[in-house]
Amino acid sequence: MKRRKQLAALGINLLAWVLSLILLAPLLLILFNSFKTGREAAAMNLSLPAAPQWSNFALVIQKGKLGTTFLNSMLYSVSSVLLCTLLCTMAAYVLSRNRRRLHNFLYLFLVLGIAIPINYIPLIRVMQALKLMNTRIGIVLLYTATQIPFNIFLIHSFVSKISPEIDEAAVIDGASPAALFFRIVMPLMKPVLVTVMVLTFLNTWNEFVMPLYFLNSSDKWPMTLAVYNFFGMYFKDWNLVCADIVLTSAPVIIIYLLGQKYIVSGMTAGAVKG
């Protein structure tokens, strides 16, 4: 009986490792190949590089214009995070606290955007009319707009768990609505705000469809689109392509490792009702 249990325990551990390796193998392949010479990388296998070629990264930063595209991606991601967090927090807070018929309707109207897709082609007309085509501010506004529905949903359900008695105490002490929100309620929302910021950053960093439709000059491209373009030009130099992939993914992986807890809580919110 004890023997059988030990065998079963060994079995599930083994299984977990096999599955993890299936997920890791393609990623390790890219990592290893980014350090190889062009000739070594041409074989595209999982062997370790003979000697790590750090020069690949320098070369790819220069050839792939990664400096500019990194700054573009940073600008788009950070601006969207700040704008989206501010707008969504204010809106979700009021919609959660004040539930008259109008507010209920507005909430549902906003969160329905989680499901409905963007109609890109007429959106071009709107962007043209607003003089936002091919502009950095235009892309930031688009990223903000598309992430409003899910973020409002996340914050709304968090606010409904904060007791409104705190608000009442503050109002009796003479706090204005703005002071109540920024000084009292917002600090209490820290966990959900971190989740929103992390998810918005990751989504914006990874997205490439908006620039595909709305940015035609390559000097405004984010890193993801630039790496794809680089792949088209240097597809024979796998070591360089891999180095570019590693550099483009590094920020999201670092953020994932630091903020895993917040990402998971955001992704599971609403799906599981405790």
């Binding site: 993890s20 296998n45 999982l46 008259r100 409905i116 890109y120 506004l141 949903f153 599971t268 009702k273």
Partner: protein
Amino acid sequence: MNKNRIYPTRFVFGALLLYSVLFVLPSVMGLGYSFTDWSVYSDSIHFVGLQNFATAFSADYNYTRMLVNTLRFTLVTTVVKNAVGLALAVLLTKQVKLLNFHRAVMYLPCVLSALIVGMIFKSVLNPKIGLLNTFLRGMGLNFLASNWLTDSKIAFRSVMVVDIWKGMGYIMTILIAGIMSIPQTYYEAASIDGGSAWQCFRHITLPLLVPTLTVTTVLNVIYGLKVFDMVYSLTNGGPGFATEVMYTGVYKEFGLGRYAVGTTLSTIMTLVMLVAGFFMIRHMVKGDGQEI
């Protein structure tokens, strides 16, 4: 106290304005443009009735292919991701060593851009030097080594498998949270009654997980109908039209300058998703005392 004074509606305006102008307005305009001949070739726009819809649903066109592919993609990835995600979730709520490491690894592909994942798998699935074919040949399974992304018979299957590889960790994570919310006492009672692991799964885990599985299913369906990134980066709809889905179709029509047809395809998807979305949203907002 006066709620309207303490919680002013103007706090909603910023988000509402951006969302309405850049998200909702194009969809509404799209519905209008679907009845016109809007294109890059002519400055004037005319009303053409249901002509674009007739094109979109006509049998002799590649549109049928897109529609069928989109539905097939949605069905297959939804079923497989749920099944694999559930198996992984059950496995990773057992007493496995380095549990958090395994969970973190399984979720890792979800945080990578679909464009990056597409490029990674273009390498892995490369017929000559790719990891998969090298592995198969090494095992003596030469006959299994294929042109994964360029053979029109299997390309779409390859795309679906890569998408499952990327997305199953997400479903697993949601289901793990679902399993953790099942009270431990049920399992204790079952073990006192001598229930086997399978019986516990069949009669406790599975029935109590139905609400969570409903959510993962709806999420998968919405994702599957909207899919673009993965197909674009792996095959861009090719070879030929073998892997074309609705949103790669929209992008192609856009590239060809046939704006009205592209918009019509988008509008059809919007209408479908409004219905699916309504049910999902109703389920999602139920918990926090929201009336609907």
